[in-house]
Point group: C2
Chain length 115, copies 2
């Protein structure tokens, strides 16, 4: 991930990151209120999400930033970003432009119900 | 975390865990559909969640299992558990018995809105 970031230092100071400098980002549909997906962010991904209005993540498998929908067109337009009480997770409330899951499903949680 | 678990091997085979054997668990209120909190589970925490109906996590800071609400009474009664498309996050849909956040707030995301 990037070693420099323009993330507001007042926000950066409240974040708790894992061993890889990452924290979880839960995306919720502003309209349906479905939980759409969970991605990972570092400070720079959060900075880009806050400043561009397009949900942006760090890919742990590809080791690169990715803007959700950059390829598929199924972007996530950010309405709210909230930090949780211990600073290790963010909640992104967004308007999805289409199905969020790469499988074509509305959410990444549609296919596999355990109970 | 526990080295032995009774988690259904068919479920265990679909999980992708981090370096510490953990995966994120997002809890959503079945009624209000608020995202209440994010915790961490290993296989055994998921097994306990699935079999007891009480949302159970692994505490990364205390290195022990914890049943949400065990002390406060603000338990999370599990209605659904869903695995995401790449197997590294679960969504727990639950009925909360009271405020979920240890601060007394309804959710862990109530206090700190970034945008």
């Amino acid at each position: 991930m990037s070693t420099t970031t323009s993330l507001d230092p007042a926000i950066a100071a409240r974040l708790k990151r894992d061993d890889h400098g990452l924290f979880a980002a839960v995306v919720q549909d502003a309209g349906s209120r479905d939980v759409l997906m969970v991605g990972w962010m570092d400070d720079e991904a959060l900075h880009r999400t806050l400043t561009t209005g397009a949900a942006t993540f760090w890919s742990r498998s590809r080791s690169e930033y990715w803007v959700k929908g950059e390829t598929s067109g199924n972007t996530l337009a950010v309405r709210e970003v909230r930090l949780d009480c211990d600073g290790d997770t963010v909640l992104v409330v967004a308007d999805p432009a289409g199905p969020t899951c790469h499988t074509g499903a509305t959410t990444c949680f549609d296919a596999d119900r355990l109970v």
